[in-house]
Subunit: 745 residues, 2 copies
């Protein structure tokens, strides 16, 4: 292959680095726009008794105020079925939407928020999932049974909005047959996606009631659905124009500020921009689900796992409309990549008085790898086994199936990935002197792929344009360009690709779940192949040749073996305009993809300061099973970025609350990991073309986030012998664990 | 049919009437833009000796100045082969581009223009086509023979840039067999398209050198080609974003201000907007070709035409790059819709020191109808024949062919159209008292159709979106919506259509030549039909039925005969996302269309004031042969608009020059016809579904402009017996003719 598999910098890189890209808050319109602000609940749980907007309405410069009465009740919407955008009777978290104001400037809008008087009856709140699950916990959704989609939630009781038990074999009997049984409890706190660009939107409603939003979103077609749903509009009355996006990581899927802006634009008759403050975004967007877990695992002395029980409690926050898909995924991940004959999983998702949790890169992944990969490491050490060998003994292989796989699995490269990381990191050696340790962990992920469509057209000068609605978070469009260039025998420089909006793009999948390139790349490749056919048809007529005798390369189509007997693609494109087929163009669709396993394996060397608990990362090796790396530069970047995010969650990140109010909603107090905080991430790709995916590419965006927290925890354990079952592995927590160990060795 | 054939107001009407539509000069970007101004030649013909921009460059606020040296020489470009955008050695008309300036505001830009010093050697100029054709006329293009595409121009001599002789039979022998031979000379002056929105553009060049222009254009893909050509860029480095357009009428096809704005944006690194003043637009855009004609026609006493010689001289202005296609069309129209066994046409196009002429709604049409339809009327009156009967005797019918038709003609409805207009206007009666007269004229037009492509997609709620790059001048997108609604069995309100830009739209034809709906409608209908197939495939699987047994209507697909056994389109759309076919969407292409005859017939009643020469229009009947009227409201509007423009050219319009400088470049001095100036235009459609075109639609935008000048001239002749062979039929000219007649009765 000439283009696929080569390193290419992103096609839009110059726009990005020169600051010319237009992000959400950069959009300008022919007319000026109003500034919107959202009045949010100061209480974690309260009944709304009265909202008085009259004073605010009289403030000069205020152009519109909206509350729940301005929107149709959407509790029973298709997508967000347990939430009204503006609270009508109750607020359920600190930050819940109460009203919104549009004014001529920000100061006026903020002043107006202060003038809105809301009478609340404050209710007891519950913010911890284990407390929320108790029978006597304050009830967050009294009317849950009446929600239309509540059928999704099996066995509701109290605040539990989803409960599922998965049983394979007989775990009790498995434990009885085991030589040893281990039981541990874990806790992973809520973390935030921490994209650099906060949520923002510019909304316009035209004279015909048609809504246009300019918004950095990962999912323009899904967002279109949500807005149509909330405002009870046909889809063609909603246009989503995706701007450049300053990071999403799953956090820019669900509507946040968009409905408020649309409601204000509709009421005021003017465009309205809303930009979240950083604190608002931390407090009110859709963070990762916090998780409590109990793992009980029975093993033979040789490390063979015989039985496992997992009890999981996920906190969903105040609403779980979209979060349930993540609960389903949590179940799949709890089953994991090991052959375990007897499994029992008890999964509960429970409402709490927090912002509703949503997708975050590898949803449920790092939580369930931290638990499982910490425990397996712990068991290996207890049994005196090599943690790598113990994993290899139990890992699934091609043809295996798990209760979650829906059939025999293909393209399973977990063992090779694990071995590669171990080998490169010199697993068999020690990482040096005292207080140093080496940890390994495996990330297991299932990459799906939603149905998509994409188009390719040949321009009159022989260049090629891709027509796609895919949101480019991580180089997807560059890789799409490579795919098309490869199929058509042209250079990447001859292919143009940018993202069209929801009016003009063929239906595109969400840019999430590592599926962007797998799904869109497949649709785009199909379209390119059909364009190739069309090119050959037109050329065959002109060259008086059979299409089967034609080859394409070097921007030409020619009779096999005689390159001079041919036409340039420019000639073909111009011919097509007088040929019976007309302009050369194709749009093709692809159905959804089955879940495909993908692995990452991390080895980290740490040095722990026993006096401060500070963990210093010395070396980081990440191997990932990527199928074919369409653009290795991009794939390596994705792995490095994922590792960094995983390290943030391992080392420092947690949303800290008091009475439901976040105490650290700034980047000063909420420490994310940057490239300055970590050693070079040594990335090694395991490349085996996958049976599905364009040119054998697998989904690659998420897997390398997953094992990082477990790898670090295992390394700390290796260094000092202390096992920490709660994240983050902050100096305080590590020091606490060291001190506890020295008290109770 | 349920949607096609019904009257619908335009889908974008609310945006338009509330002022929300974004026209060329309305566009705003995230960053501010500079204002560009063009330095234009004050001379009709001069050699450039030196350009000194140094003073202008030092003016604070000036950000860029460009001249010919900033652009590659493009004399040999594919599209504009006899012109460099900025004059390098010579200026050839008053208004020719010499330089351009971008500055922080308009006043600074204008001041900078004054500071640019250009030394000219003024050359003798020639502005009249008959003078320009003389052997001793000043030569406008000395290097014509070296132009690459000059091969198009047969028999160049002096300023003649195109010459063609067409001979059928033997006109001399035809004249000898004739009972009477008539010879007349005609003159039609230059007129301007007088769109309300002048030429304007906003251009941006990004860090990678990629050009984006926001521009009201009739031909985004053609404009993309031109810009790519001028700047020697691949097509994918040029993006044309068409804004709403405030009228085009053929005048917004060729680049005017765009290259200057792009050059300035590239040099300054900032976006640049250029808005032409009205005077600039009048003086420097692409007006209609002025025309001199000599018609010699031999007839038998019964009115049978035996022979015709036509000598045509078209003035092309200083450049003829794009104008030559109009010359070719002039030849076809000179042959006309009458069966004439002996024809000789001598057509010359000649350079003059005017702005280069370009397309104007029905290019060459009104000129050659004024000549031919005036003469045929005159002959009928001389022979004592009814002008209607004489036309009917000679008119072509289905199956006839002409030297221009390239085979037997189909869908020929000239006779019926003529009869319909005559009948409704009570042709057999007299229009009342003294000084009143009634005139009839026939318009003949050949509608082509370029290759196009278009897409249709089904949204998840069952609504439908059309993906098209067609520019909507006259309701085209509304009609596309009707076509798709008809095919898919939904309402027009369920279909969305707006124009995508050159990046995202499938290749679309120009919106000119009456072909928009014929070509784009066909491609769109093909795409809708394929979407219908896809819907049936998905539904058939779910309903366990054969696709052939399925029907679609009322937004549902169901088994024939049992409407309840079916699915809504929303259900099908959602099913498709999990079905093996994936999202329902199709893009289809259509090849070019053969020329198709189209007729219009006008009858006008006038009253002439013999003391002032003022012509008062009393009644106006227009019949047009339209195939199927997809949207009769739109079609009637098109006919009325075309008649009004024809009446302007008949009654009052002419660009008046002195030394190449236009003397009347304002709407005060250049009188266009508005609805206040004319009686109600009574429109009658002749509907016979055409063999080509969607649902049998013909091209309809141009034919009704064509006969208006001849109809009025014929009515004046009927009223007073004076025959005027020059346009416009202004009070001065009519009075002059009356006075001349009274001197030489």
């Amino acid at each position: 292959m000439k283009v696929v598999g080569q390193k290419h910098s992103r096609v839009e890189i110059l726009e990005k680095v020169t600051g010319q890209s237009v992000f959400g808050a950069d959009v300008r319109l022919p007319t000026s726009f109003l500034i919107g602000k959202i009045l949010r609940s100061p209480h974690a749980h309260a009944r709304i008794q009265h909202i008085d907007t009259s004073k605010a309405e009289r403030l000069p410069g205020v152009k519109a105020i909206v509350t729940a009465t301005d929107l149709p009740p959407v509790r029973f919407g298709r997508f967000i079925w347990d939430q009204e955008y503006f609270a009508r009777t109750k607020v359920r978290y600190v930050g819940d939407h109460v009203a919104a104001v549009a004014a001529v400037d920000e100061a006026t809008a903020e002043k107006a928020l202060e003038l809105i008087k809301v009478d609340y009856e404050v209710l007891p709140a519950v913010t911890d999932a284990l407390e929320a699950i108790r029978p006597d916990a304050p009830l967050i959704h009294e009317e849950y049974e009446h929600y239309k989609a509540a059928a999704m939630a099996v066995g509701r009781k109290g605040n539990v909005c989803f409960h599922k038990e998965t049983v394979v074999g007989d775990s009790e009997s498995g434990f009885r047959s085991s030589d040893r049984v281990f039981e541990h409890r874990f806790h992973i706190p809520m973390v935030h996606q921490t994209y650099i660009e906060p949520h923002t939107v510019l909304a316009r409603v035209d004279a015909s009631g048609r809504v246009t939003v300019w918004v950095p979103t990962q999912a323009q077609f899904f967002l279109r659905s949500c807005i149509a749903d909330i405002f009870e509009l046909p889809f063609i009355k909603v246009r989503v124009i995706p701007t450049e996006i300053g990071g999403g990581f799953g956090g820019k899927m669900l509507p946040t500020v968009e409905p408020a802006a649309v409601a204000l634009a509709r009421k005021s008759g003017r465009p309205v921009q809303i930009v979240m403050s950083r604190a608002e975004d931390f407090q009110c967007a859709n963070p990762r689900h916090p998780c409590y877990a109990r793992y009980k695992t029975g093993v033979k002395l040789d490390g063979t796992i015989l039985a496992r029980e997992v009890e999981l409690v996920l906190g969903t926050g105040a609403y779980c409309g979209n979060g349930l898909v993540i609960c389903v995924r949590a179940e799949m991940l709890a089953i994991g990549p090991y052959r375990i004959p007897n499994i029992k999983i008890d999964l509960s998702a429970v409402y709490t008085n927090h912002a509703d949790c949503g997708p975050y890169r590898a949803p449920a992944g790092p939580q369930l790898a931290f638990t499982s990969e910490s425990q397996i490491d712990l068991i290996a050490r207890e049994l005196g086994l090599d943690p790598v060998e113990m994993r290899l003994k139990n890992l699934i292989e091609d043809g295996d199936q798990t209760p979650a796989s829906g059939g025999p699995l293909k393209d399973v490269h977990g063992k090779e990935t694990l071995r590669k990381a171990a080998d490169i990191a010199q697993w068999g050696t020690r990482p040096g002197e005292k207080n140093r340790g080496r940890g390994i962990a495996l990330g297991y992920w299932l990459v799906g792929g939603m149905a998509s469509s994409a188009g390719v057209k040949l321009n009159e000068d022989g260049t090629v344009t891709i027509m796609t609605g895919v949101i480019d978070l991580s180089g997807t469009v560059t890789s799409l360009g490579q795919i098309v260039a490869e199929v058509l025998g042209v250079d990447l420089a001859d292919v143009h690709v940018r993202t069209a909006d929801s009016d003009f793009a063929p239906h595109s999948t969400i840019s999430a779940g590592s599926q962007g390139l797998r799904s869109m790349g497949t649709a785009t490749k199909l379209a390119a192949e059909e364009v190739k056919n069309q090119i050959k048809q037109v050329a065959a007529d002109k060259l008086e040749a059979d299409t089967n005798d034609l080859e394409m390369e070097g921007k030409r189509v020619y009779v096999k073996g005689s390159v001079e007997k041919g036409l340039s693609l420019a000639q073909v494109a111009q011919l097509s305009l007088t040929h019976k087929r007309g302009p050369i163009v194709s749009v093709q669709s692809t159905p959804p993809f089955p879940n495909q396993p993908a692995f990452s394996a991390h080895v980290v060397d740490v040095e722990v300061d026993p006096d401060t608990g500070r963990v210093n990362l010395l070396r980081y090796v990440a191997a990932q099973d990527v199928g074919t790396a369409i653009n290795p530069l991009s794939v390596v970047g994705q792995v490095q970025g994922a590792v960094l995010q995983g390290l943030g969650q391992a080392m420092s990140e947690a949303c800290v609350f008091a009475n439901g109010k976040m105490l650290n909603p700034t980047f000063l107090d909420y420490k994310i990991f940057s490239s300055l905080d970590a050693p070079t991430i040594e990335v090694h790709l395991v490349e085996h073309p996958s049976a599905t995916g364009p040119f054998g590419a697998k989904g690659i965006g998420e897997p390398s986030l997953i094992p990082a927290p477990a790898a670090v925890a295992n390394a700390i354990s290796d260094a000092l012998g202390v096992r920490i079952c709660e994240l983050p592995l902050s100096p305080e927590r590590v020091l606490g664990a060291i001190q506890a160990q020295s008290k109770n060795p």
